[in-house]
Symmetry: C2
Subunit: 180 residues, 2 copies
């Protein structure tokens, strides 16, 4: 019995990591076009029905977060806005907007890679998806491939800071070269 339980846990963990790795691939797509690297996928009965990555700068749309894109695609795929029986995998803790969309769309389970202590709304600043006053609550599993999900964000912001510093240095060098 104990052995079966261990085997079952292994299979569940393998599944969770498999889908989070797909979400990470979405995050990489965001990084490759210069967007904050967050990716999400929606899964129903083991099949991916929606996926998305952050495109706020590209689309000039403040609502174009990874989770929103994935939820919209899943709704289109399944032909309705109630995503009952669906799970959402996202590399970074959803913000208030995405957490609200998760509740509205009736997502069952939410799998989070890394937390966002500054704006996260699934346990950090708020816990919208588990607020009992709302008409739907969501189960959460935290820390799936936590290290990789965190590292892609750290690397992105490190590069961003480096690029800004380089630009500042270039501007200063140019100013000095034209000084008379």
């Amino acid at each position: 019995m104990q052995l079966n339980l261990r085997v079952d846990c292994g299979i569940i963990l393998w599944h969770m990591e498999k889908f989070m790795r797909m979400a990470l691939q979405e995050a990489q797509k965001a990084r490759d076009i210069g967007e904050v690297p967050v990716g999400a996928i929606v899964v129903k009965d083991g099949v991916v029905v929606g996926h998305g990555y952050n495109k706020t700068e590209t689309l000039k749309d403040p609502t174009a977060h990874a989770e929103m894109e994935a939820i919209r695609m899943a709704s289109a795929t399944l032909g309705g806005w109630r995503l009952i029986g669906c799970d959402l995998y996202v590399t970074c803790e959803p913000c208030s907007m995405c957490a609200g969309a998760i509740v509205w769309s009736r997502i069952n389970n939410l799998y989070i890679g890394t937390m966002d202590p500054k704006a996260g709304a699934c346990g950090s600043v708020f816990n919208i998806v588990q607020e009992e006053k709302l008409n739907h609550n969501v189960n959460i599993e935290y820390g799936i491939l936590q290290e990789e999900c965190s590292q892609i964000l750290k690397d992105f912001f490190k590069n961003l800071r480096r690029t800004k510093e380089q630009k500042l240095e270039d501007t200063q060098n140019w100013r000095e070269s034209v000084r008379f």
Copy 2:
């Protein structure tokens, strides 16, 4: 001085009611297609740059709330996702999703018609738009054309209940007519 203040207050109130009336017209469009009647508009420097109404059932999209539609249109109109200096008028208190989008898009002022004690996230269940931990806060004015904004929702849900009761009665009558 007191007279000027009274005149200024009158002008501000007139402006707020004028824009809320436009949001109400959007809500009527939602009602006319059988959607929960909520409407929103985004205003910059006295000009409407975005408008929208609830289309969740029509588009089969859980994110297609009035505020989201208005914000997306405003972002497209202004060519960027930062709606700095913009005001949002909405007939019913925004939910967590829309409140999150209002914070992300850097809306300055939020004018609300009627409150939503069940899912409102601007003072009722949460107050996301004024949470100090987030990187942007929004000023709120409550109760603009409160009675009209509330009435359109009450009428909608009353009709919805009546239609459901009628359907139930029709089904019972049919069952009785075919009983043998």
